[in-house]
């Protein structure tokens, strides 16, 4: 544990740390462009120059290890002057694009320019021309003029995504970032380069020009894309979600996020969202009030014998929803049959993406839901089931079996579908209950490794749609046995009392990054 002095303050730090890392750990801010805590050190931007005693020249903080008795100063006049010089060089070729640049507002270059008060350029020559709006990958737009050659994106592709599409070409002032010939920046993690780009050189083609970042509100949430449950921030304004950004969570996703996860917000505002409760009258689904929908369910369920009712849960539901659905089926409907659910899957990789393409299959399993079980469909064929309560539409997710399943389900006397989007399944249902997507509800998700994280409500539900917890409690109330509570934190308290593996979980303990359940 070397002890060193930074700005007159004596601090201890771990061995092998660089000055920049030690400074950050002790709350000293050193401006930098190329350094990134999760990438290798390049030391090419020269912005983090600091003064170290007994070293004749200024030295870069990001690549100088701390040694015992080192005396570092980060805010002397010499350092500030050097930084100002570096800034002036960075700005030589940087265009004055801030009004149209999407990075404006979260741009390191803009921030440091503002901090160092550089208002005039002494550069009288022509700026270096470059490609504007170049689609370097399917999801990434590259602006060569804005690039300050920090090489963060290059290192990311080599070290994190391990695909290595990017490199710096040419020499000197002609250096440019580009992909190797014949390929484009098209890996599953390509949008992380946009996040780590300190300037607006790499921008998200999807988010580009949608909204200024300073208008966006951020809500801490969890990515529903796969069972890895990356921590994310939902950036939204006026009830519309504009983008999802990764949130630092060293146990789950570090600071990265996959491209597929970033487009999960697209499901929120689609034309086929279910917005009002529907009840089948004659052959048509008609819009009804919530109370009428609940009463229809209660009547429909009460007509049918307990052992002829089945329930299919959702791997996308939160822990609280799984628990209350369980309670609704077992305690309110008095059904002995197991709840089952189908989990869609895709190809996993060894960085973030997991095989199960749903937010909470692990949580569902913790509550006794049988995943990938289609015994109820078989039971319908045999004629043993007359009614079914389905959350989500994963049962028709597999295109091979979709038509058979739909045909089988249409034989049912009574089908309740609680879903976010209109689908073939909801069109054959007797009662359709519009529910909330991940950004519209509060709750917890359990990831494949057992980490329970809290997700928050960012935007309101569209029209009359309700969060699933409210819907389930409405059904229970219509059945005459209302739940004690539907507040997510109270439900979690109830879960921790009743479910063994959730014994140590409560909302206060979860914090921003979540904790692991006892297995």
């Amino acid at each position: 544990m070397p002890t060193f002095t930074i700005n007159g303050k004596e601090v201890k730090t771990e061995a092998g740390k660089t000055i920049l890392q030690a400074a950050v750990a002790n709350g000293v801010r050193i401006p930098h462009f190329c350094y990134h805590p999760h990438l290798s050190i390049d030391g090419c931007c020269r912005m983090c120059l600091v003064e170290v005693e007994k070293i004749p020249k200024l030295t870069i903080a990001c690549n100088t290890p701390v040694t015992e008795g080192m005396v570092v100063r980060t805010n002397t006049e010499k350092v500030l002057k050097a930084r100002k010089g570096v800034m002036e060089f960075q700005l030589i070729n940087h265009p004055l694009d801030c009004p149209i640049c999407d990075q404006a507002g979260e741009c390191k270059l803009q921030q440091y320019t503002f901090e160092h008060g550089i208002t005039h350029s002494r550069f009288r020559e022509e700026k270096r021309p470059g490609r504007k709006r170049f689609k370097i990958g399917p999801r990434v737009v590259f602006d060569e003029e804005r690039c300050i050659l920090c090489r963060r994106c290059v290192r990311f592709c080599r070290e994190v995504s391990k695909t290595g599409e990017l490199a710096v070409f040419s020499r000197g002032d002609k250096s440019i970032i580009n992909t190797y010939p014949g390929i484009s920046l098209d890996n599953k993690y390509s949008l992380n380069t946009v996040d780590i780009c300190p300037v607006g050189a790499l921008t998200n083609a999807d988010f580009r020009f949608q909204v200024r970042v300073w208008f966006l509100e951020e809500t801490k949430a969890v990515c529903p894309g796969c069972s890895n449950n990356c921590s994310i921030r939902i950036c939204h304004r006026r009830g519309k979600v504009y983008r999802l950004l990764p949130r630092k969570n060293m146990d789950v996703n570090k600071v990265w996020m996959c491209d597929n996860g970033r487009i999960t917000h697209k499901q929120i505002e689609t034309s086929n969202r279910l917005t009002v409760p529907l009840v089948k009258k004659g052959n048509k689904l008609e819009e009804v009030s919530w109370n009428e929908a609940f009463d229809t369910i209660a009547k429909g369920i009460q007509k049918i014998k307990n052992n002829e009712i089945g329930a299919i849960g959702s791997p996308h539901a939160t822990n609280e929803e799984c628990y209350l659905f369980n309670k609704l089926i077992k305690n309110v409907f008095n059904i002995k049959n197991d709840i089952e659910c189908i989990v869609p899957s895709w190809e996993a990789d060894d960085l973030l993406i997991k095989k199960e393409k749903a937010a909470n299959p692990q949580g569902a399993r913790e509550f006794g839901v049988k995943t990938n079980d289609t015994s109820s469909v078989k039971k319908i064929i045999k004629g043993n089931l007359k009614a079914l309560y389905i959350i989500g539409n994963d049962i028709i997710d597999n295109s091979n079996t979709k038509q058979d399943v739909l045909q089988t389900l249409s034989k049912l006397d009574f089908l309740v579908v609680q879903d976010t989007h209109n689908s073939d399944l909801s069109s054959i249902a007797n009662v359709v209950l519009p529910s909330a997507t991940f950004a519209e509800k509060e709750g917890t998700f359990t990831n494949i490794n057992g980490f329970v994280q809290k997700t928050n409500r960012a935007v309101p539900c569209p029209a009359k749609a309700k969060p699933d917890l409210e819907i389930l409690s409405g059904v229970a109330k219509a059945m005459g046995r209302p739940f004690e509570t539907i507040e997510p934190d109270k439900v979690m308290d109830e879960i921790s009392k009743n479910v063994k593996s959730f014994k140590n979980i409560c909302y206060e303990k979860l914090g921003e990054t979540g904790i692991k359940i006892n297995n």
């Binding site: 009004p99 149209i100 404006a104 949608q210 200024r212 208008f215």
Partner: protein, 184 residues
Amino acid sequence: MIVNRNITMTWWERIYLPEIFRGISVTSNHFFRNLIGFIPALLNKDKKRKIFTLYYPDEKVEFPPAYRGRPVLVVDENGTERCVACGLCEIVCPAKCIEIQPDETELEKERYPKSFSINMARCIFCGFCEEVCPKEAIVMSDECEIADLDRNKMFYKKDQLLISKNKLQKRLNYIKEIYGKWNY
């Protein structure tokens, strides 16, 4: 309520009558000056009266360039608006009356406002939007007759805001002069 204002008056002022006549001389001075100035206007000989208030709806005054009327968007020579939808006016607006939906364009400026609306019922004519604009794209015009009975009509859309550069040249020169000296 009697308030003691501690005003000491001279004897001349206290007898009040001379002060009354002084006051009357001031007002009647105005009266006769205006009465004499009134005659040529009455005979339709002199349209320009120097002493009179303007016959407002019939006559209109030409505002000085410093006048801040309703904010408008400048249309350049090439027929498109200068605005690049940077959103600075939207964030600086203290009345929060500006709403911009940016979008991408094939033009060189890359960005343009797909929709740009100003809620003139809320606008307070502070001119911050003009001051903050990096492109001199939104300026305060000299139009001030925007009152309406319908709130919905006060919601100015982009096509109502666009005004060609030639009409705004005076104001553009003025803001160049006044904001230019601050050296942004």
